[in-house]
């Protein structure tokens, strides 16, 4: 489609690691797309391939109907001719130029004054980059890229060079600035919270391959495969077997336990995905709407600030995320007998290992 970024290319890196991208991002529907994945997944390399800073071994990159790269015809546009603004992880601001000169460097026409105002940098115009705080430097890096009137913004871990406090504060400001710039953006991050706060669409990359692309909530809720499920932080990935089906529900055997979930036509060996926050814990068997009540015992409690990860042994290993307050109220301790409750709709099934869709 005309408004899409189509990338079908691969590049082999020195250590025999291959980065592959095969995706189409509907830029008109996704102002901000997050490229998400664990460190070393190849996200930065993919971004550099798009920017033209690295040359793919083979494939093609087409942006809004314009070919940026095509190995079959030998087309490879220089970075400057792709009109893609790149914001580097540590900003790469010109240290010998003032804030205003940095913004003006690639500016088209007389946009630089307006951009300085738009990004709140007017009062710093005559300072050198090193005289700015981390957050201001980040803003300058974005302002410099926007002043060149790009048609696509590529941001490499834009918040990772900041301390934790400014990072949290700047997350929403960054999204606001990206939307205000009205340029579709591709943002690399390995932080789940950042991905959720910034993105409309999310592309998940694991081991050099792009695994899934879709609306952020959709990808977090329904990851397409086991690696993506682990990457997006689904704590419970349980091998299971479909035993029977009735009334729109599936009965599964997982370990020594039985689970019930919504029937979407799966059969045979499956993987049951359950987010830790979808598992609730009670002292007694409490009747409610949840279809699954599993008796078990507490195998571990790890507090992480206001929340706690509780490991349960219910005939299958299950991780629950509850508040620290609940841990205190329920007096959860090692070996204690509890009931875990999981709604049938909170279980998402993937084809099991060894089977293919």
């Amino acid at each position: 489609m005309a408004g899409d970024l189509i990338c079908r290319c691969r590049k082999r890196l020195a250590q025999g690691f291959t980065v592959e991208g095969d995706f189409t991002i509907p830029l008109d529907r996704a102002p901000v797309t997050v490229l998400f994945g664990p460190s070393g997944a190849g996200k930065t390399t993919l971004l550099r391939l798009l920017a033209g800073l690295e040359r793919p071994d083979a494939g093609e990159i087409v942006f809004r109907g314009r070919t940026w790269f095509d190995s079959s015809t030998g087309v490879c546009l220089a970075p400057g001719r792709r009109r893609a603004g790149f914001v580097f992880q540590d900003y790469a601001l010109f240290p010998h130029l003032t804030v205003a000169q940095n913004v003006k460097f690639g500016a088209h026409g007389n946009t630089s004054d307006a951009v300085l105002r738009q990004f709140g940098l007017v009062e710093f115009a005559d300072r050198l980059p090193r005289q700015l705080s981390g957050g201001e430097q980040q803003r300058l890096a974005l302002a410099r890229a926007v002043a060149a009137k790009p048609e696509l913004l590529l941001l490499d871990e834009p918040l990772s060079a900041l301390d934790l406090n400014s990072r949290v504060k700047l997350r929403h400001e960054l999204r606001r600035m990206l939307l205000a710039a009205a340029v579709p953006s591709l943002v690399v991050t390995h932080d789940r919270t950042e991905a959720m706060a910034l993105g409309d669409f999310m592309a998940v990359m694991v081991d050099g391959r792009l695994r899934q692309l879709g609306p952020v909530q959709e990808v977090f809720r329904r990851p397409a495969d086991q690696e993506t499920a682990i990457a997006v932080g689904i704590e419970n990935v349980l091998p299971a077997e479909v035993e029977s089906r009735s009334n729109g529900l599936l009965q599964l055997r997982a370990g020594q336990a039985r689970l019930e979930c919504v029937d979407r036509g799966e059969s045979g060996a499956v993987l049951a995905l359950i987010r830790a926050e979808d598992v609730t814990i009670s002292r007694d068997l409490a009747p409610g709407s949840a279809r699954n009540h599993l008796p078990g015992s507490v195998a571990g409690v790890a507090r992480e600030g206001p929340v706690a990860r509780v490991e349960l042994e219910c005939g299958l290993p299950l991780v629950a995320l509850v508040t620290a307050q609940s841990v205190a109220d329920l007096d959860l301790h090692l070996g204690q007998t509890v009931y875990a409750a999981v709604k049938a709709t909170a279980i998402h099934l993937l084809p099991g290992p060894g089977t293919r869709e």
Binding site: G80, G85, F86, D90, A92, F94, F105, A145, A148
Partner: protein, 224 residues
């Protein structure tokens, strides 16, 4: 003191430095940024004058610019004179002899510029030329300055190549170092003392300048 020789040395050093900056900068740029694998061979050629005895270099230059060589013939056709034992010949010898003193610091400075700054400039639509003028060159000021100072000082202090190529003609090829040699030969130790002291003091000041410039480069633009 042989002022004529001193001024001749200064003139030679100024010309050599200027010409080498013009010719050495593109070479340094190529050495710093070319992806060619065989560029180490060019680096070795550039560094040759550091290890060759000045007499060897001088001998080859003398042969190469002789009236029967293509270069000598070309020069005669253009300017009507001969190069050996003239100021022009001296200049050719100095350019080759001081080449590494320009090219090496400038190459190191270019190579030391953060790659991402160059990539950032390219992504902002800057041509390679604009990237060089606005980013690479300003950030390499220290290295370029060091190269210029070292080239100047080295040319003022050269002896062997000058003697081989230029001989010892007052006002034309007698540089300050040859003047000292003359003074000692003539047993005029007082004059030799003065001229030597002048050269030693000059060299010291130049090195202090070069090193302070190198130091400042480190603190002027700290990495962000």
């Amino acid at each position: 003191m042989d002022w004529q020789a001193i001024f001749l040395s200064l003139r030679l050093a100024t010309l050599t430095t200027g010409l080498l900056l013009v010719a050495g900068t593109p070479l340094a740029y190529w050495l710093a940024f070319s992806p060619r694998r065989w560029k180490f061979a060019v680096e070795a050629v550039v560094a040759l004058p550091l290890v060759l005895p000045p007499t060897v270099l001088g001998f080859y230059v003398l042969i190469a610019i002789g009236p029967h060589s293509p270069i000598g013939a070309l020069y005669r056709g253009l300017f009507g004179g001969t190069l050996p034992f003239s100021f022009g010949g001296l200049l050719v010898g100095s350019l080759l002899y001081s080449l590494p003193f320009t090219v090496q610091p400038v190459t190191a400075a270019f190579a030391g510029v953060d790659r991402r700054l160059i990539e950032a400039a390219r992504c902002l639509g800057a041509s390679p030329w604009k990237t060089f003028i606005r980013v690479v060159a300003p950030l390499s000021r220290g290295g370029i300055g060091t190269g210029a100072i070292l080239t100047f000082a080295h040319t003022v202090g050269e002896f062997g190549v000058v003697l081989m190529v230029g001989g010892n003609i007052a006002g034309s090829t007698r540089t300050v170092s040859i003047s000292i040699y003359d003074q000692v030969e003539a047993l005029d130790y007082a004059a030799a003392w003065h001229t030597s002291l002048l050269l030693a003091g000059f060299s010291f000041v130049v090195l202090v300048l070069a090193y302070s410039l190198g130091r400042r480069k480190g603190s002027l633009w700290p990495a962000i």
